[in-house]
């Protein structure tokens, strides 16, 4: 039940000699076991923020804390699924998903035994021994997600994991993710472009402004759990959807 | 060769700069088992670019067959100089050939000077004996090798033939089998000048390190003994010598080998007694001096050690 807090994080790059701000004073808290989504236009610094949280990039200012401990710039504390699928083309799918376990020193054989049922359960049955090239985009993304989940961290960052999945699998994966989340009590930070998805999955939604990314609003979803497909037709759902659509339309005017 | 398992066999490496018909006495001594009889197992390695001498200096080879001049040059500044112990080729084994329709009036210095001036010459590799001798001759007849003639100095013996054959050069220097090949090819006729006319000339001798002579004179003696036997056979038994030659150069044509042998005997190429006379050493060292390759002096007594040859003769 880890709590992740982002305190006043900013990120500047230098572009052609000029400093450029891509993320501005982000303040967020993901309380233990909560499902928090981030919605924002492309290029507003969502992946940058995730890189900072995962310790892969240092913020220009601000801190990241996990259960109060300062983890700014340190990697390995949170699970992170990057935006690209990033499967290693020379490994089979099975060997791709166990790489996190391998790093933690789990013997290959044991790691494979642990991963195999998961692959088979989540639609990669028969593809365990194939190389990523042989899979369609959706399948690759699934493998990437399974790899992150096998890493078994309390806080998981998911950068548009379902962006490339088809509608069916998407729904299936959404439910499955909710299942995992409630079973394992993980804190999830989730980037998505899909308003339905954000509302359906989250406890809270952060809405970002266009570049330089700033938090524009924080919305409490407040829909009862467990949720299912009927949730999508509920009034509260449709109300939130309209609200978000409006917020995003507002955003659009200055940029268009 | 003959085999003898009596004495413990010692392995010895002798470095040669090229694999050459002129070194026949060495090959004969190996093939006929003269070294074996002395309890030596001799192997010959070919080492280019000056490496034949350095391999002795570095201790990779026991001895070297080559000119005493290159030995003296290598000795400059060395704490363990190389010393020559037995003579093998006692004539300057280099000839000058002229392309078709070219002929000097005579071989006097004036005639040669007049003939050579302005010609382009395919000489051997720069710094090699044929090349140095040619330069030396040019200086001797009063020409400047860098101005009065054009010297092409390919590293490869065959290139000398092709340069003249293609008319790119007027003259060439070289030895057998180049001479015969060039004649066959129609590049040139018989040589118009032969350096063997210089008389005794220590062209190829066998040398080893001073420390070897001090520490292991027995082996030096054995090598000299075997070499003298080889020289004797080559000088006296032409038929046997030819057999060894054929064996050593299996892919060369009979005509080419025969021509080489004939010229060698005609010019008394091989030393009769293995003795390196002071006059024979003086000539190559004069060549390197005049051509500016090595201008410091030398001491015959330091460069040459004839005690082993003398001891062998006494027996």
């Amino acid at each position: 039940m880890s709590e992740l807090s982002i305190e006043h994080c900013s990120k500047y790059y230098k572009k052609n000699g000029e400093p450029m701000c891509v993320l501005k004073e982000a303040d967020m808290v993901a309380r233990g076991g909560r499902f928090v989504s981030i919605i924002g236009p492309s290029g507003c610094g969502k992946s940058t923020l995730f890189n900072i949280i995962a310790g892969l990039s240092k913020p220009s200012e601000g801190r990241v804390r996990l259960d109060g401990r300062d983890i700014t710039g340190e990697s390995g504390h949170v699970g992170y699924m990057l935006q690209k699928d990033l499967l290693l083309p020379w490994r089979t799918i099975l060997d791709n998903v166990i790489i996190g376990l391998e790093i933690r020193g789990v013997p290959k054989k044991k790691a494979r035994e642990r991963a195999l049922p998961m692959l088979q359960k989540y639609g990669l049955k028969g593809f365990e021994q194939d190389h990523p090239d042989a899979l369609s985009g959706g399948m690759r993304q699934r493998a990437g997600l399974i790899r992150t989940l096998l890493d078994d961290k309390d806080v998981i960052l998911l950068d548009e994991p379902f962006g490339a999945l088809d509608a069916q699998t998407r729904l299936q994966m959404q439910n499955w993710l909710l299942q995992i989340w409630s079973d394992f009590q993980k804190t999830v930070l989730f980037v998505t472009h899909d308003i339905d998805e954000a509302i359906y999955l989250s406890d809270e939604i952060y809405v970002f402004t266009p570049r330089p990314g700033r938090i524009k609003a924080k919305i409490d979803v407040g829909l009862p759990r467990p949720r299912d497909e009927k949730t999508l037709m509920e009034d509260r759902f449709l109300h939130l959807k309209r609200e978000l659509l409006l917020m995003l339309r507002e955003e659009r005017e200055p940029s268009g | 060769g003959s085999n003898s398992g009596k004495k413990p066999v010692k392995d010895i490496v002798i470095a040669e700069p090229v694999h050459l018909i002129a070194y026949l006495p060495l090959y004969v001594a190996i093939d006929k088992g003269y070294f074996k009889d002395e309890g030596l197992n001799v192997k010959v390695i070919t080492a280019t670019g000056g490496a034949h001498v350095t391999s002795v200096v570095s201790g990779d080879a026991w001895g070297v067959i080559g000119g005493p001049d290159s030995v003296q040059i290598a000795n400059k500044g060395s704490k363990d100089p190389i010393t020559s112990v037995v003579n093998v080729v006692n004539r300057a084994n280099v000839y000058l050939m002229a392309g078709k329709n070219l002929k000097p009036k005579g071989t006097s210095d004036q005639n040669l000077a007049a003939f050579l001036k302005g010609k382009s010459i395919a000489a051997g590799r720069y710094g090699g004996s044929p090349d140095l001798l040619t330069r030396w001759l040019l200086l001797k007849v009063g020409l400047n090798p860098n101005k009065d003639v054009k010297l092409d100095e390919p590293a490869d013996a065959t290139a000398v033939v092709s340069l003249v054959a293609q008319g790119k050069d007027d003259l060439a220097n070289g030895a057998e089998p180049q001479i015969n090949e060039g004649i066959k090819k129609g590049a040139w006729g018989e040589p118009f000048y032969g350096f063997p006319s210089l008389g005794d000339y220590a062209y190829s001798v066998i040398s080893t390190k001073e420390s070897t002579i001090k520490k292991d004179p027995e082996t030096v003696q054995k090598v000299v003994n075997a070499m003298l036997k080889g020289l004797k056979l080559v000088n006296e038994n032409k038929a046997e010598a030819y057999k060894v030659l054929k064996k050593e150069f299996p892919t060369a044509s009979d005509a080419s080998l025969k021509a080489s042998m004939n010229r060698a005997y005609k010019d008394q190429l091989w030393s009769k007694d293995g003795y390196i006379s002071p006059a024979a050493v003086a000539k190559p060292l004069d060549v390197v001096k005049k051509t500016g390759i090595y201008t410091q002096g030398y001491q015959y007594s330091k460069l040459v050690d004839m005690s082993f040859v003398k001891k062998a003769e006494k027996k």
């Binding site: 390995g76 699970g79 290693l88 996190g100 933690r104 042989a134 | 490496a51 150069f249």
Partner: protein
């Protein structure tokens, strides 16, 4: 043309990449044979009618005859074994050490930038020029040939591996780091495997460089080997024998080339080619 093949087919056309590849391989083999035979035929013919001077160019039939003499009366086969032995040893050594070196550049940008020009300079020095010095350093034995073959290959292998290292997808690195990987994990699990195609791409160049290194070593000093045979043949103006050496070397390099192709396939196994 593309349309026809579809229309004419009676049943459904099943796309089968493996079989197509096999077909191309077979055709290429036939083509190689034809080209080879054509070269031999033209060579023989042109020297026979005198368009090419047979003194310099020899001729296939003369080369075969001379080669036969070299095998039966000379030591061609031993020479061949000597040369190929030294080449393969040097190639393996050079490729392994060079690849390791190139990969090691991943660890530090500073270290790699400092080291690289020295390697290049060292590589560029023509070995034959160093004959007297090399004898001192490496001697005149079999080892010295292996070392020269090694020296010829090690730089190319290291540059290839380094190119691979520089082209590693940084995001893969990020992904691994996010899984808590240390740098050595990234190195062994991402950097090395993703550099393999680059390293493999240098094999074909390197095998011929290794051969060249061995030959140079034999030129400098040797009792055996094809290089020594060629040198000797040149000195006694036996141009036919020079050609025997050249032909044997070419054959050897083709055989070794095929060996590297096989090795390449072995190393690239499991990596489905881009489709």
């Amino acid at each position: 043309m593309a349309e026809k093949s579809v229309r004419d087919a009676s049943g459904p056309v099943i796309e089968d990449r493996d079989r197509e590849q096999a077909k191309i391989r077979r055709r290429a083999f036939v083509g190689q044979m034809i080209v080879g035979l054509l070269i031999i035929f033209l060579w023989e013919f042109l020297t026979w009618i005198g368009w090419l001077d047979s003194y310099y160019w020899s001729s296939p039939s003369t080369i075969v005859r001379t080669g036969w003499v070299a095998i039966t009366e000379g030591t061609l086969l031993q020479d061949l074994a000597y040369t190929s032995g030294a080449t393969i040893s040097g190639f393996i050594l050079g490729t392994v050490v060079g690849s390791a070196l190139g990969l090691s550049f991943w660890w530090s940008d500073l270290y790699s930038r400092i080291t690289e020009p020295y390697l290049i300079a060292f590589n560029a020095v023509p070995k034959l020029a160093l004959a007297p010095v090399l004898v001192i350093m490496f001697g005149i034995g079999f080892d010295s040939k292996v070392i020269l073959a090694f020296l010829m290959t090690v730089i190319v292998a290291s540059i290839a591996a380094y190119s691979g290292v520089k082209n590693v997808d940084r995001d893969l690195e990020k992904m691994l780091l996010s899984l808590g990987a240390k740098r050595h994990h990234v190195f062994f699990k991402v950097v090395i495997p993703s550099s393999v195609p680059w390293m493999v791409s240098s094999l074909k160049i390197n095998i011929s460089l290794a051969l060249a290194g061995t030959i140079v070593g034999e030129f400098i000093s040797s009792r055996q080997g094809i290089g020594r045979m060629i040198l000797y043949a040149g000195q006694i103006l036996n141009i036919d024998l020079v050609w025997v050496g050249v032909v044997v070397l070419s054959a050897l390099s083709i055989v070794m080339y095929l060996g590297t192709v096989w090795l390449e396939r072995l190393l690239m196994r499991g990596r489905t080619p881009k489709s």
